[in-house]
């Protein structure tokens, strides 16, 4: 994984893995990606989509109380094909196509979790979770506490989150900070295929409600994957960040798709003699404050990267944590990169300006290292 350069090629809708039904105009085709490696990887590769699909499959196979419900998850095989093949294998009782009623079916999932099942509720995109946020926050996240530990809620809410491409403001938003601010929820945001497999399996096995934020634009990307990660018993601990790339001059903390951008930025920075450490958060809540602070104490500089809005964002929380715990280690002001403080515009050129780009990260890291021109 180290030193990998991810070079994305945008293709408009001619993706071989196009997942979109013509009737589903609210979804934009995902784009395929090609890669070029700076270092050679001899191992197997897997797309994030296959990683999620296989994780679901294995967990459903291992535990009959696990079931999937959501819109178009069954006969249509998932709006993004994450649930492909599951209906055939597990039947309509365990791969439940629901009507378009987020509040209703999310609540039903929560009630099923109260009563002993392990539902995986798919939101076609996390934007639609707003229709059901009452059940995520009030019914799922608070019940273990309100019932003094009597009623645990082993449920996973999953689906694509964050900025998609060209779908406008209502379909393009990151909810990490929203759900991350709520006690009682665990919030995960995988980046690679290893993350996707390990974290989804951990989420399904976890006894608490987990919000699992995928990224539409990563679904079609392939990542090298170890034999270990392909093992059906593989899972990753919730609440632990991963050092994706070690470095000594500046710490870049990111999650989900922004991890890829941070790795690209680190690659460019290395050519200018700056050694950047890239932390893949994996878990938004619990937040691995220890890993972040340990890295900052080593590099003395911090750049945070997220797609979400700046105010009260994940970056803001990370900055607060570092200022509280490692203030005296900081050699430069913290740099916080986030989405622009506007609803997502439709126009592609404006949209590009509204989300962080690799050059933004490079520039911020150089500023932090006092190397900006």
């Amino acid at each position: 994984m180290l030193g990998t350069l991810w070079h994305k090629v945008f293709s408009s809708g001619v993706s071989s893995s196009s997942v979109i039904g013509q009737s589903l105009q609210r979804i934009r085709p995902s784009f395929s990606a090609t890669r070029s490696y700076a270092s050679t990887s001899t191992g197997k590769e897997m797309t994030v989509r296959d990683a999620l699909n296989s994780a679901l499959d294995e967990e459903m196979s291992a535990d009959p109380t696990v079931f999937v419900m959501g819109e178009e998850v069954g006969e249509y095989q998932g709006a993004y094909k994450i649930t492909k093949g599951l209906l055939d294998k597990y039947g309509p009782e365990r791969v439940v196509d629901t009507p378009i009623t987020e509040a209703g079916f999310t609540g039903i999932g929560v009630g099923a979790a109260y009563h002993g099942l392990r539902p995986v509720v798919e939101f076609m995109t996390f934007n639609f979770s707003m229709q059901a946020i009452d059940h995520i926050i009030n019914s799922a996240a608070k019940s273990n506490y309100m019932s003094a530990g009597q009623i645990s809620v082993p449920i996973v809410f999953r689906g694509p989150n964050g900025a998609a491409a060209g779908v406008g403001a209502q379909h393009s938003q990151c909810y990490a900070a929203w759900f991350g601010s709520c006690p009682g929820l665990k919030v995960l945001a995988p980046y690679s295929s290893e993350d996707a497999r390990g974290l989804l399996k951990a989420a399904i096995r976890d006894p608490d409600p987990v919000v699992f934020l995928e990224n539409e634009l990563l679904y079609g990307e392939s990542f090298p994957i170890s034999a270990e990660a392909l093992d059906s018993s593989f899972s990753l601990p919730i609440g632990k960040a991963k050092i994706e790339r070690e470095g000594k001059d500046v710490t870049i903390v990111a999650y989900s798709k922004m991890v890829g951008y941070a790795l690209q930025a680190a690659e460019r920075l290395s050519k200018e003699g700056i050694s950047a450490e890239v932390i893949n958060l994996r878990s938004i809540r619990p937040l691995d404050r220890r890993a972040i602070n340990a890295s900052v104490r080593k590099t003395n500089r911090l750049v945070t990267v997220e797609e979400g809005f700046p105010q009260h964002g994940v970056g803001a929380e990370i900055c607060a944590s570092v200022v509280e715990e490692s203030f005296e280690y900081l050699d430069a002001p913290v740099e916080r990169i986030s989405g622009a403080d506007v609803p997502m515009p439709y126009a592609a050129d404006l949209e590009r300006l509204a989300v962080p780009q690799v050059e933004d990260i490079v520039r911020a890291a150089k500023r932090a290292c006092f190397r900006a021109k």
Partner: protein
Amino acid sequence: MASSFSTLKTIQPFCFSTTTTRSQQKSTLPTTNSSFFGSNNKLHKSFNSFSPSTNRLRSAVVAVSDVVKEKKLKTSASTSNLLITKEEGLVLYEDMVLGRVFEDMCAQMYYRGKMYGFVHLYNGQEAVSTGFIKLLKKEDCVVSTYRDHVHALSKGVSARAVMSELFAKKTGVCRGQGGSMHMFSKEHNLLGGFAFIGEGIPVATGAAFTSKYRREVLKEDCDEVTLAFFGDGTCNNGQFFECLNMAQLWKLPIVFVVENNLWAIGMSHLRATSDPAIYKKGPAFGMPGVLVDGMDVLKVREVAKEAIGRARRGEGPSLIECETYRFRGHSLADPDELRDAGEKNHYGARDPIVALKKYVLENNLASESDLKAIDKKIEELVEEAVEFADASPYPSREQLLENVFADPKGFGIGPDGKYRCEDPKFTQGTAQV
């Protein structure tokens, strides 16, 4: 659709919600020439002549007395034509008295400052809780609202545990972490009181989904039924409709119990709802809808038996509208100034406990002294619950941060039932975590 209509037919005797009765119903509903029906003025003026609520009640009585008549016909050949046995009568009486005395005590304790926040009392509606919940088995689930104390008591949670919860004590059913509106008891399959309108309905539907899943996917021997309680105001909320649809679509073992007490806080049901006959919304989704006099525990019980039996047999959900009335304000903070005195007196005169008492005595099911003994027993029980709650400790400081997660460290529980975070090997072999 064919199948749902045929199910409707099978319960036709007690279900007067199908098209055949629509014309009859029409005449009893208020006409829409006034857009103000439901305002207290209107109710006041028309109370003795053409009050929508009294007319609706009359039709309810008609509907249910059909069942009662049928039942009597069926059983008259045998030894007794009564709706209940002595034992059943005493159980119902005791449960209703418990609900009433408990809630009266709550009011006292609230005014003495022993409890605080929102406290919604159930006085007047006891026939619904008792009529339904006393028919349940322990494995059956109940999902309630913010007016949940009495549902908890009927389901078997002890008065001590509920009172202590209200006193915010560590001995409460949720250790003081839930409060008046959030009673949970895993042991009794009370899956919570939900403070938001409509929030409990999907949760209840999910519990029913679980029962079906256990039976059909896990092949367990499971005939659990879930009751979802909610009020008239909820029936204008989208989640109600969403769940009626899915419950019927998937034939879930659930009964939707509407406690129509005619009022939200100060908003009359008639002023809030385009078609105030809630039970009619059942057939719109293909399930039976029944209106029953919710001030009569025996009628409620008869209807409940049918609906619960139907759910238990796997025949799907039912919507039961119980016309009832709360004798107190919406909560103890509500001055209750909008409801008309005439309306209150009308329902006050139909107190469900008094009615049951009358039935029991007139039919010689029990003596006055039997009932007095129950009254005394319950008063002592509630007194004792207060003493227990009062003497119990408040939660300790450490408790603040407990129970946020079942697994606070987030590593999950392994197949051996132990937390993975306790196993050092767990993180080994997972690259660079």
